[in-house]
Amino acid sequence: MDHESFNEYDDVNIPIESDESLAVGNVVYDEAQLARQQEDYQKQIQQAETTAVPEVVRQFLLYFQKCFNEGNAYELHGCYETSFQKLTEKFYKTSRWPHPISVVAPLVNNDETFVLFYTEVYYRHVYARFQPTLEERSLSYSNYCNLFNFILNSDNALNLEIPTNWVWDIIDEFIYQFNSFSLYRTKVLKKESHETEKAWLKDHDKVWDTYSVLNVLYSLCGKTKIYEQLRAQKNGQDSTEVAGEYGSRNLFKNFGYFCIIGLLRVHTILGDYHLALKTLEGVELNKRSPFARFPSAHFTTYYYVGFCYLMCRRYADAVKSFSHILLYIARTKNINRSVQFDMVNKRSDQMYALLAISVALSPTRLDDIVNTGLRERYGDQLSKLQRGGPESYPVFEELFLKSAPRFIFPYTIDFESTKLNSDATKHHLDIFMVEVKNTTFAFNLKSYLNLYSTMDLGKLAGFLEKDPEELRSALVALKVKNRQLVRKDGELLEGEYVNVSELDISLENDLIHIAEAKDNRKFADWFIRNTLKNYAVQEAIANPEKESDNVNKNKKRANKENKEVAAEKK
């Protein structure tokens, strides 16, 4: 892979917060004050005063509303990213935030728009911390409907100003809840009991309906004219000319981008890998990509793109997607210790598993850092996969189940018969395993073929104790499967057929011709990097003072990191 393209990520910097106090506007609550209110709140809860709102939370909500309506982006970001999290830790670890309708609406003077967005955050907190009830799932859904309705159809939406992270979270959560509901519904319908739930689901069959979820995403794409903008950008035109009133505002442009990722995800969990990749038409996938600025959007995109490539049997492209993003995560892991750290870690673990599958099916030389990461996590499994044969099948299955997206049942639910209600993941796995079986069959051939430049088919069959005709088929399969579509430039679905293996064979009747790729080391890249390193060293020697400054800075940073690690261990 091209190392140069990652240098830009070295500058990614995300500030770390460790302060325990809390600022709500100009009022700063220190730790002691918070602790006192926390105690009071616990007491109130015990006395069953569930509608009680601690003073700090009340103040926070009012301030939150004020910033929201003033469009004070900076303060709003603080409320959303920092204060909300801190208050959750203090007061709402085990209980729900104040209810949007019964408590918050009267508090904020029935400010409908604010309540709309607060409700979004409220249910997200419910989903993150508790098992949402059926009613909550449905109310959250209708809130999303209202929220998107507001964005799509209200004149006031143009004045909306919320942090980009929030925009991402809205789309991300919307799809997460849709996915979660679909899985829940399938689970309930499968069971013999659960009559009340079944009846409820039957009455509410439009809740979290796939069609309407897609409708929202496509409508937002249309409203923000995001595809038109991307096309204009690609042709070197000014995208603001086609963006329209909404699309030219950064906020809505981001909505548009994130909806594209949303569509990518929805199509993937429905098993439509072709449409999923087609959805990204016009999106540049590299460091200049609009997603690259938002870490979550960035690695979500690569995870799904990589997975779709894997399911389309384009292993070289899958490997490229996974390594690209895993390298990015590896390089930024020290500075990227944000709230989502666990999520990043879980996702990258999944991507290493998918990478193991892709590399096993189509051996590829990996970047050193990614290779080390892969061996650390899945070294054992990888060697089992690479040996092929029936012993490798359970490992393929295990890694697939662990790391695939949570597929949903795509068809409209049939409440009368359970036949349409079958396990979606198993379905996709079954199809994938055909490919695995037909590809890994040839694995043990390679170690023999490597040794010869020509070989008699009968002789090889003797070595392998295989039927010669079975072997002939395996060789043809090896040859054909080595030719894969690989994307050069252009859209994700485009590509050229290339031999991706280090081995090439052809059959002349019973004689196998074998050619091996000569692996040329890449010298130029090595020289360029080391020349630059050399310059850096020379400069350090020439200016020792400046260097000692840097050393101090590095020490400080290292100390801070160590502290964090220590804190985490506690």
Partner: protein, 237 residues
């Protein structure tokens, strides 16, 4: 081999192309148009997987409109292009019960038969494919809507052979395309592919794939890679 997802078949009607590129592909009112197009593909011997996937997607959202026969035809068409994974892409979009171990309706029975056939073709076990195909009358029945199905499969098998082999024994070819040795059908088939029969060996003209080529990777240095070096050199002046 071709990129069947991107390449647009020449015979794709304008109206279908328009639907595929707009949100009309989600309009249940267009199911009939897509179905008619499948019918056309069956009789004209072309397969347009991108359009057919859009139809299967419409079935996902409109269960009551599912037409088993059309699904089977889409899969049979995809089977012909077995080297391009059209078949598995289509399968991923079908109701998830169809591959369950014991088939519960005629649709899943037929799909499982096709899936078995695909399994042989994907593993390039062509002799096995024909055995499975003629095991009972079912397969012939399943693909009966596709005109010339057998010669289309033979053509795809022959293309695969061209990709991997410089020559092949006459008897192996006979079992791979399922035409009797010394029959005029087999000899005609060899002629139609522009291959030559030389004693017991069928020789296949050299093409860009059927010889083993060592891959030589060369390193290309892009100008951008040198940018920092050049900047440095400039600063040192």
């Amino acid at each position: 081999m071709e990129n069947t997802l991107v390449n647009k078949p020449e015979s794709r009607p304008e109206v279908v192309d328009h639907m595929l590129n707009t949100l009309e592909k989600y309009d249940a009112g267009n199911i009939q148009k897509f179905e008619e197009y499948v019918e056309q593909q069956c009789s004209k011997n072309v397969s347009d997987i991108a359009a057919n996937l859009a139809l299967l997607k419409l079935y996902q959202f409109n269960t009551n409109r599912i037409n088993d026969e059309v699904i089977i035809n889409v899969l049979s068409l995809a089977l012909i292009n077995f080297n391009s994974f059209d078949f598995s892409l289509a399968l991923h979009l079908l109701p998830t019960y169809v591959l369950n171990e014991s088939p519960i309706d005629p649709l899943s029975e037929q799909i499982q038969k096709l899936f078995k056939l695909y399994n042989h073709l994907d593993g390039k076990d062509f002799a096995g494919f024909w055995t499975e195909f003629y095991k009972d009358d079912n397969a012939t029945e399943i693909v009966s809507d596709i005109e010339n199905f057998l010669s289309l499969i033979r053509a795809s098998i022959s293309k695969t052979i061209e990709c991997a082999c410089k020559s092949l024994s006459y008897s192996v070819l006979s079992s791979w395309v399922h035409l009797d040795e010394n029959s005029s059908a087999l000899n005609d088939w060899i002629k139609r592919q522009s291959w030559t029969l030389n004693g017991t060996t069928v020789e296949i003209p050299v093409n860009e794939f059927n010889s083993a080529k060592p891959i030589i990777t060369t390193e290309t240095v892009k100008f951008e890679q040198l940018s920092r070096l050049l900047k440095k050199a400039f600063e040192m002046e």
